[in-house]
Amino acid sequence: MQVELQLFATLRKYAPDQPLDKGLVMNVEPPLTVSILLEKAGVPLDKVKIIMVNNRHAGFDQELAAGDRVAAFPPVAGG
């Protein structure tokens, strides 16, 4: 199934080919969770602070369905 992964801020370095205007489109077999998706994309889970699925707050264990859009954010500390 196809899902979209959008990496923000310093997480972008794990997907240098991510288009600027949208996320990475990934074809992954179900069952699929956020953490499995991030691992398949090469994103270390310990670098991820906030996860959103379809613009709603989610966790690593959330199961994903075809067409879901996952956004991942690192800890952002600067001020």
Partner: protein, 239 residues
């Protein structure tokens, strides 16, 4: 007074009473760096009666690329002092109060108790955890923001709603090493914070409550995400 605020007084929903409400308001800005450089002048210019600044750092040459509140001649001067001088010149009709200290567990409650609203312009998660805990205890609203590289995020937290830990509780990575920050990104996100502060104080419009607004300057674009109170949150829930 009326002439200084004429462009605000011409706003829809903004009456002389609104302006008087601002004149009676007390806002604490924690951190006077990149975010604070935008937040502070806009709040003081808008006529907030008392603006507090918590900052123990001194102005450094590397600050000036984004901390536009300061001049080159301020290098080495305590930021709280330089900021107060600049802000008093911007609007001598309001009070500026410097707290030349770090926010710490031993002083946070005493400092925050004197204010109606807190604006998070800090630069580390430990300070934000302390702000979150103290604002929960004192039932203070606060406006969180953080920036890194080309990216910034902002949300408004009200008593009874989700707390910062509800949003940030997923995983617990340590703070990243200091990253580069494009100066205007801090200014942009700080401007959103100042807007939220003025809206919260005046009851104007809809706040960024239960919503995380992010700006990615590389796209460029805004995105909005929703979040809820976590009943199992260790800070505001069952733990």
């Amino acid at each position: 007074m009326t002439e200084r605020y004429a462009r605000q007084l011409n706003l829809p929903h903004w009456t002389p009473e609104t302006q008087q409400h601002l004149a009676a308001a007390r806002v604490l800005v924690v951190g006077a760096g990149g975010l604070g450089s935008a937040v502070l002048p806009y709040l003081v210019a808008a006529g907030i009666g008392l603006t507090g600044i918590v900052e123990d750092d001194r102005v450094d040459l590397t600050n000036l690329q984004r901390q536009v509140l300061y001049d080159t001649q301020d290098i080495g001067v305590p930021k709280a002092e330089a900021a107060s001088r600049r802000l008093a010149a911007l609007n001598p009709d309001v009070e500026i109060r410097s707290h030349r200290t770090r926010l710490e567990p031993g002083n946070a409650a005493a400092i925050l108790a004197g204010y109606d609203l807190v604006v998070d312009c800090t630069d580390n998660s430990a300070a934000r955890e302390l702000l979150n805990r103290t604002c929960l205890n004192l039932e203070k609203p606060w406006i969180h923001a953080a920036v890194s590289e080309y990216f910034g995020q902002v949300t408004t937290l009200l008593p009874g709603g989700p707390c910062w830990q509800c949003l940030s509780g997923t995983g617990a990575p340590a703070d990243p090493p200091p990253a580069g920050i494009l100066g205007p990104v801090a200014g942009l996100i700080g401007s959103v914070q100042a807007t939220e502060a003025l809206k919260q104080l005046t009851g104007t419009g809809r706040l960024l409550v239960e919503r995380l607004l992010v700006w990615d300057a590389l796209l460029p674009g805004w995105a909005e995400f929703s979040y809820r109170r976590n009943p199992d949150c260790w800070a505001c829930g069952r733990g």
